[in-house]
Symmetry: C2
Subunit: 229 residues, 2 copies
């Protein structure tokens, strides 16, 4: 007996993406203005449907690329939302991803085509369907991830100052951190390269630029990175 699955219900599977960015002040998300009914004109996460011949990761990459023009974006699947009438048009289950991008790398033109806009997470508007719930869950996941391993560099330019990194962590964790303790802790992880180069835009004195050292990071055990802030 070879069982087939013909009697089983098939459903639409959507992928929705929370795109995080950072503008040196706030943690931001990229939202689009929905241009079709229902909920036309309302703010929404970027999303799309899973094609039959692609994995969820691939669908997420495709969707992220559609709005940002970028490839190889850091992303993580985090939850499947399945309330029966979450989408009034048709039964749709949504698998959600969050993505971290350097806010300066996105494609302006695409953003305009989608009527997309960056919002501070703390000032996010009311979103369609259950997208606010998705956002909340994504933020909490990001906060937890940040405490376990130093992700977040994806949100910064290649070269960045300690202050930028600190501001980023403050934005993600939504709390102020002590400058000295922060620097000490980051330095103790030994995963940054200090450059002989200063960023002169932020102060008269200038501040050293750093790069993330992927090689050193990879060499260390994942559990060596308990970054309690």
């Amino acid at each position: 007996m070879l069982k087939n699955y013909n009697n089983e219900d098939k459903v639409l599977l959507a992928v929705d993406c929370i795109i995080f960015g950072f503008d040196n002040e706030d943690l931001k998300i990229l939202l689009i203005k929905r241009d079709f009914e229902p909920e036309k004109g309302k703010w929404s996460l970027i999303g799309g449907f899973l094609n039959k011949n692609e994995t969820l990761d691939l669908a997420a990459s495709r969707i992220l690329n559609r709005l940002t023009g970028m490839q190889d974006i850091y992303m993580e699947q985090f939850y499947a939302f399945s309330e029966v009438d979450r989408d009034p048009v048709d039964r749709t289950i949504s698998v959600s991803y969050y993505a971290l991008i350097n806010i300066e790398n996105h494609n302006e033109e695409l953003i305009e085509n989608y009527n997309a806009k960056w919002f501070s997470v703390s000032k996010a508007p009311k979103l369609i369907f259950d997208h606010n719930e998705m956002l909340g869950k994504a933020i909490r996941r990001l906060q937890r991830r940040t405490s376990i391993r130093p992700i977040g560099f994806e949100l910064l330019p290649e070269k960045f100052t300690m202050r930028q990194l600190q501001k980023l962590y403050e934005a993600i964790l939504n709390k102020e951190l002590d400058k000295r303790n922060f620097i000490n802790k980051i330095n103790s992880l030994d995963i940054l390269i200090k450059l002989n180069e200063k960023d002169m835009t932020s102060s008269t004195k200038g501040s050293y630029l750093y790069m993330f050292d992927q090689k050193k990071y990879d060499e260390k055990q994942v559990n060596n990175f308990y970054l309690k802030l």
Copy 2:
């Protein structure tokens, strides 16, 4: 314009469940012997398909109930698996849940009907499809959860000894813990009720029984429970 989704691919959505139990020695999982092709006779997680009118949580509860006869099982959704040919019969995306049950509460009869069997996690057999991958991810999630908040009581009988609790944590985390440090840490959480009652089966002296104090647990902030072991 009201967009409909008629052109989009629909897919089968499965829910697979990793059912964890604990026999005072090892962390165990409940597996079934698949009784239809393909992979008939191989070991498998219990699973089923999402019905059109139910949420994923409800589907998981239904599936868990089918095998255990139990209601209100502690469970958590943890990942959606979507490799294109993960199921050779038809394109199927699987949303996976892990569940924690008291191994003594399940229904023996149902277990027999399914040719189900408890396996030690460390001696799990080769499973069908990507189920071993699911199991691995479930264990890691459970380990992380255990470190963040004291879940795990679901795996024990209502009344349990400190030693049982310690053995449970050792089984989940797969490492030995110091008896005194463990007790001190658990006591400092202040979420157990020490009963005036001893379990006499494990030693001549007998050991005090404890209960989980749900009320105290709920009163405390979630982040007060950093339980680093």
